[in-house]
């Protein structure tokens, strides 16, 4: 540990010298301190608050955990929240992956336009995006107007305040989170591999499945994790597009913390959201790793 040059020094100051010697990890120090102060400490406070029985935070106990975990309704809400995330991930993969392939195979000018379109949702405030979806999906909205004009439906369809409408709009809102990692990984794939695959007689589909897909998997996994975590916690979109008949964990957290001031129960709901979303993200990343290994072996 102690270098030869500091060997003449007493041991203690030698250790200090070793610590204060310039090293790479010191660059991460400000971030680490901010992380401890503004994330780790509040997280432990959250865990602490959840271990109280009453909304005045005076009586230690696990009554809120028992209430939450003992109520089938809250289980249903948790599962619905995860389901919403998974459906959004599925939809954004189905739409996003082909789009990423189109992006990769287009020329630089088209790529610039596509990139702008992809990033566009990020440039708009979430409130504007969400209200735009009300205008599109509403009773007298663009979609219903078009459907009725074409004679496909005599009365307006209910699109707002349905799970379908919510997944649809979340897919659009979260799409950049899927596409940006996907495109950045795909653009690092050596184009020679594609040509080599073709030269060896593989069809375009075979090249896609055995060459491009395995190599793009890290980007796909990163995109899935981001979309999942972001859509399960998208409080404003869930509230405004989904309405109050679709109950998800963020709504419960908001109600308990800000309307009825039952912070222990809010903390329990928040930790449930954190743990369940993290669990699914870990599973996605594990599947991604196994998939990469499997595809590389075969």
């Amino acid at each position: 540990m102690i270098s030869a040059s500091s060997g003449t020094m007493p041991k203690r100051s030698g250790r200090l010298a070793a610590l204060t010697r310039p090293a790479e990890w010191q660059f991460a120090l400000p971030l680490a301190l901010a992380f401890i102060a503004f994330f780790a400490a509040p997280l432990f406070m959250l865990i602490g608050v959840s271990a109280f029985d009453d909304d005045r935070i005076t009586q230690l106990g696990f009554a809120m955990w028992r209430k939450f975990l003992g109520d089938p309704f809250y289980w249903k809400v948790t599962i619905d929240t995860l389901e919403l995330g998974l459906m959004t991930v599925a939809a954004s993969v189905l739409i996003g992956y082909p789009l990423a392939i189109v992006y990769m195979s287009s020329g630089p000018r088209v790529q610039r336009v596509l990139l702008f379109i992809i990033i566009m949702p990020l440039l708009l405030s979430v409130v504007v995006r969400t209200f735009a979806w009300i205008v599109i999906l509403g009773h007298e909205g663009v979609v219903n107007y078009a459907l009725m004009w074409m004679g496909l439906t005599p009365t307006p369809l209910r699109l707002l305040q349905t799970e379908f409408g919510l997944v649809l709009s979340l897919t659009q809102i979260e799409m950049p989170l899927m596409l940006l990692p996907l495109i950045s990984v795909m653009s690092r794939i050596d184009p020679n591999l594609r040509d080599a695959s073709a030269a060896l007689g593989a069809s375009r589909w075979r090249t896609l499945f055995t060459v491009i897909f395995p190599l793009s998997l890290p980007g796909l996994v990163a995109g899935c994790m981001l979309v999942f975590a972001s859509s399960t916690t998208a409080f404003i979109s869930q509230q405004i597009i989904g309405g109050n008949r679709l109950v998800y964990l963020p709504l419960l957290i908001w109600q308990q913390s800000l309307v009825v001031y039952n912070w222990p129960l809010a903390a329990v709901a928040a930790l449930t959201l954190l743990v369940s979303v993290t669990a699914v993200v870990v599973v996605i990343s594990a599947l991604g790793r196994r998939g990469t290994r499997y595809l590389n072996v075969t």
Binding site: I134, V135, G138, H139, E140, Q239, R245, L246, V259, N262
Partner: protein
């Protein structure tokens, strides 16, 4: 070594001096300012446009605002015990009771308000003072319904029910409207069971069950054509060209007051000047007019033209009022119940 120490001392002294100098103007500035929590949106616009200039002119006090909904003000004040993030609260009846129970307010002395004599009796107490009235009833789109709805139960009948937008117990206006609906079906201020029983029957027909903040947008977009709401929301939408009319239900319009309170530990002199400025007839009248639509509590304000459901503040007694000290303890249970009943 000693030189280093001297340097450090010098630096510290210089820093202290600089800090002190930096502090001084801000202290002087604080003398002439008050920080008020304010509802975002129409209220914030109104107070920036009307109250801030009036306060500056009358008392040379600067108004600084923190846009926060009532529930957020309570949450923030509770989280920062002893060091209030603002001097004056503006609250609905429910959060007001929570604030009193949590000991967030300084004892209020109504005699320090020169405008007190202009207010109806009972407007001020040891906790605070009412600064605006809110009236709750039914709002509907007259282009969609040839006959206007008459009673609360009409909301649950065709043709209205399939165009109805419901909200839960998160807001004051939602809570009191649901109580009135429950009363029509045999419930009371503390028993909303009949509401839940009826809601279950009509759930598949209802046009939307929405977050209160989303409701005006849904009405404007034609997703819903009838809802319970306050005169201010209805007035704001109407001023934007939306087809909307406010109806007084047969059993009467609901009224409650928005109150102001001084935060515990706050600097009080400017807080009283600010609250009194809000209560002066000139300010109250300006706040009543479009586009703000805040119903006044000062008796000197001529009502008539503002589309309010009363012509004289003395009629206030005829409106339906609620006892929030009874409602508050039940509200958490009602919110949970509402989630469970309406969830798909």
């Amino acid at each position: 070594m000693s030189k280093l120490d001297l340097n450090r001392r010098n630096i510290l002294a210089a820093m202290a001096a600089a800090g002190g100098a930096g502090l001084m103007p801000s202290l002087a500035y604080a003398k002439g300012s008050v920080t008020a929590a304010m509802y975002p949106g129409a209220w914030e616009d109104a107070f920036r446009g009307i109250v801030a200039p009036a306060l500056k002119k009358a008392h040379n006090v600067e108004l600084e605002m923190q846009p926060l909904f009532a529930v957020d003000q309570i949450a923030k004040a509770r989280a920062s015990r002893g060091a209030p993030p603002f001097d004056v609260f503006v609250l609905d009846p429910g959060p007001r009771i929570t604030g009193i129970d949590s000991g967030l307010f300084e004892k209020f002395d109504p005699k320090k308000l020169p405008s007190l004599s202009k207010l109806p009796a009972g407007m001020a107490d040891d906790w605070g003072v009412g600064v605006a009235a809110q009236f709750v009833g039914i709002a509907y789109n007259p282009k969609k319904f040839p006959t206007p709805p008459k009673t609360w139960t009409d909301l649950f009948r065709e043709p209205y029910v399939s165009r109805l937008g419901l909200t839960g117990f998160q807001t004051t206006f939602g809570t009191v409207s649901i109580i009135e609906i429950a009363k029509m079906y045999g419930g009371s201020e503390t028993n909303v069971e009949p509401f839940f029983a009826e809601v279950k029957k009509i759930l598949p027909k209802v046009a939307a069950i929405s977050a209160p903040a989303a409701q005006p947008g849904l009405f404007q977009q034609g997703q819903i054509d009838i809802m319970y709401t306050n005169t201010q929301n209805a007035g704001t939408l109407k001023a934007r060209g939306v087809d909307i009319e406010f109806v007084k239900p047969e059993t009467g319009t609901i009224a409650f007051f928005t109150t102001m309170h001084i935060a515990k530990g706050a600097e009080q002199a400017n807080a009283y000047k600010y609250i009194d400025t809000v209560l002066t007839a000139g300010v109250q009248e300006a706040l009543m007019k479009p586009p703000y639509f805040l119903a006044p509590v000062n008796r000197d304000v001529p009502l008539g033209s503002a589309g309010l459901p009363l012509t004289n503040l003395n009629q206030m007694d005829k409106f339906i009022r609620h006892d929030w000290s009874k409602i508050n303890p039940l509200r958490a249970g009602w919110i949970e119940r509402f989630n469970k009943e309406v969830a798909k």
